[in-house]
């Protein structure tokens, strides 16, 4: 009787199972500590435009720091994940006024930005954003920014819009596309209806914003999950108006679409300034400056700009882009005007998120 033909006894089966379980456990533990004894793996909750795969590989091979990326849908998603998983994450990417929220709730901690040599490559305004100041320290390492505005196809949208109220114009029924970001769309509606603090609206202001969205609803064709879906809709002509961040006109052109123009609505606009923060419960906090220094070098940031097309805060990368013949594109996307970032309504936590989501769902439900 060969080994394969012989029936396995129950004891052997249990033993094999035990050995297998122990083996899996060892492999799993090995995976979490990294393959090499010197390598460090940092768990990073972020967005997919904050890194490039080549960049992570290069940082790993040069500096033995690996990054395991978890994508977040929004700041609130990151907030809850960090809160619930304690020290599972080492670095968090956060937006504008969300960073102080993370910080004040003890999820992240501030650091001396000058301890990161790459910070000398940043625009000076970015090193001193007042809302990220924590005494002599800063809450986050500045990465990029963008306003959210109206993009429109001039062949179909006339006259050129100058207000968010174009979204309520029945001429454009079924021709508007935006990303499905309930809180931000409510803030946009707040801007349109004159709310004083779009991310901190009162009950009356929320009601006005909700009513505005209701009048806009017939014009919305769809609420999508990705920027690329808005680009696609504008490129194939199925949408004439999109609510998106800087660079969408270039991305539509790159996708073979028509010339798209953008307008900053007279009521003002909103947007994000994002950064990388140290998670307080991380056990690898000492690796943060080194990792960020490696990741934020000008040549990588310039590549990131070319790939994703929105302004970043690395001034040295701007100079590289100018040298590479990208000045026109960089200037059109306001890369050389970081101070513009402070003129928009900054993205942040809502003072009454539940009321925002309730109102949004009540508009966009059946």
């Amino acid at each position: 009787m060969t080994l394969l033909e012989r029936t396995m006894t129950r004891r052997e089966a249990l033993r094999a199972g035990l050995v297998g379980s122990v083996g899996l456990y060892i492999v799993a533990c090995g995976g979490s500590t990294g393959g090499s004894s010197n390598a460090v793996t940092l768990n990073w909750i972020t967005w997919n435009d904050h890194y490039m795969d080549d960049q992570l590989k290069a940082v790993h091979s040069s500096y033995q720091i690996d990054a395991r990326v978890t994508l977040e849908t929004d700041d609130s998603d990151g907030y809850l994940k960090i809160k619930q998983t304690k020290g599972q994450f080492d670095i968090a990417s956060t937006d504008a006024l969300w960073a102080p929220k993370f910080h004040s709730d003890g999820l992240t901690e501030s650091f001396d930005i000058s301890s990161i040599p790459a910070s000398s490559q940043l625009y000076s305004v970015a090193r001193d954003f007042p809302f990220w100041k924590d005494g002599s320290k800063t809450m986050g390492y500045p990465f990029g920014w963008s306003t959210i505005q109206i993009y429109y196809n001039p062949a179909n949208v006339s006259p050129a819009p100058d207000s968010w109220h174009v979204l309520a114009d029945s001429k454009y029924k079924g021709k508007v596309v935006a990303e499905n970001q309930p809180t931000d769309l409510m803030a946009m509606a707040g801007l349109a209806t004159g709310a004083k603090v779009p991310y901190g609206m009162t009950t009356d202001e929320i009601a006005k914003a909700k009513h505005f969205l209701q009048t806009c609803k017939p014009q919305f064709q769809k609420l999508v999950s990705q920027n690329s879906d808005v680009v696609k809709a504008l490129a194939d002509g199925s949408a004439w108006i999109g609510i998106e961040n800087l660079g969408t006109d270039f991305r539509v052109k790159d996708a073979g679409g028509p010339t798209i123009k953008f307008v900053t609505p007279s009521e003002g606009t909103y947007g994000f300034i994002d950064c990388e923060q140290i998670v307080t419960a991380s056990t690898n906090k000492d690796q943060f400056p080194k990792f960020i220094n490696d990741m934020e070098q000008a040549d990588w940031i310039a590549k990131n700009f070319i790939a994703n097309g929105r302004p970043l805060f690395n001034e040295k990368a701007y100079k590289l882009l100018v040298d590479q013949g990208q000045k026109e594109r960089a200037d059109l996307l306001l890369y050389n005007k970081p101070e513009e970032a402070l003129k928009m309504t900054l993205k942040g936590p809502s003072s009454n998120e539940q009321a925002y989501i309730d109102a949004f769902n009540e508009v966009f439900g059946a």
């Binding site: 809850l80 499905n180 769809k222 194939d236 199925s238 998120e353 769902n361 966009f364 439900g365």
Partner: protein, 308 residues
């Protein structure tokens, strides 16, 4: 060894055997249940425990992005008091029911044709064709319909090329009908395979006998065949209806603003960190699914479904 010594040894051995027996029985019992362990771990740890947590969440509140354990019925009260959610629930139910009826309605004639008129050597390749879409990702299967039905899609371009239309037809996408159409496409294989399995074991002579005795074909199918394959039909309904009830991706991609289902509103709650509201509405969907299972419980005999 003297006989008395032998007897004594036998007694000792016997006592040992008696002591050893409960241990052996216990080991044997543990061995019998060892196979149940992984399932217990999987469903206990990764299904039942999270379900209990979701139930608890549905009675809690979120205050300033923190889940606070204040026991309340507010989340349920809110859904039942806001007409939008009731309307969305009703829309979801009729869309799900219609998609299920259409799916079964298309799958049944196919399975009937396959089992009755196709030779056994061709049945397997044809069934393989039915499940080929499963080889690609669910997301791609849905997204491909945007390329087919979109304004610049295959259908519109073909109609334009044939001179039948001069402007792209916009009603092919981003409405409830587009969602139902794509759902039927997505869930057809589940229904077809289940119905094929049921029909394969049906005794066709009974149908012939009924018709020989004068029953019209549809009457014979209705009176003779359907009662016998009812468990298969009910299984197909369950396999199609319940997953569609919680659908989120298909309405998100091809439904647009007009094709929203209740799953989309659940997602908005989770995007906005309103976990307790999301948990409550998710449980309402689960309650409908459970109610449906209870409704069909008496008709569903597993032996009949799987042909034991």
């Amino acid at each position: 060894m003297t006989s008395s010594a032998g007897q004594a040894e036998a007694v000792v051995r016997g006592a040992g055997a008696i002591r050893a027996r409960p241990r052996a029985v216990l080991t044997s019992r543990l061995g019998e249940y060892a196979g149940f362990g992984p399932v217990l771990l999987l469903f206990g740890g990764f299904f039942f425990a999270p379900l209990v947590l979701i139930v608890a969440y549905s009675f809690w509140q979120v205050i300033d992005y923190n889940v606070v354990q204040n026991w309340t019925l507010d989340n349920y009260r809110y859904f039942l008091s806001v007409p939008t959610y009731v309307r969305t629930f009703i829309a979801t139910l009729w869309m799900t029911a219609l998609a299920t009826v259409l799916t079964i309605g298309i799958a049944f004639p196919f399975a009937y044709w396959l089992t009755r008129y196709v030779s056994r050597s061709w049945q397997r390749p044809l069934l393989l064709l039915v499940i080929i879409p499963f080889w690609t990702s669910y997301l791609l299967r849905v997204a491909s319909w945007i390329t087919i039905l979109g304004e610049g899609g295959v259908v519109n371009r073909t109609l334009e090329a044939l001179g039948l239309i001069h402007q792209p037809l916009s009603f092919l996408l981003y409405n409830r009908w587009a969602v139902i159409f794509v759902l039927v496409y997505l869930y057809f294989p589940f229904a077809a395979l289940t119905l094929f399995s049921a029909l394969e074991r049906f005794d066709w002579n009974q149908l012939k006998a009924a018709m020989d005795l004068g029953a019209p074909p549809l009457t014979a199918i209705w009176r003779i065949m359907l009662p016998q394959i009812r468990p298969g039909v009910i299984t197909a309904v369950i396999f199609v209806f319940i997953p569609i009830l919680g659908e989120y991706l298909t309405p998100q991609l091809v439904g647009g603003v007009d094709g929203v289902m209740i799953g989309n509103l659940v997602v908005n709650f989770f995007v906005g960190a309103q976990y307790t509201r999301g948990a409550a509405i998710a449980l309402l969907i689960t309650a409908i699914a459970v109610a449906m299972l209870i409704l069909f419980r008496r008709s569903l005999v597993l032996e009949q479904v799987y042909g034991r």
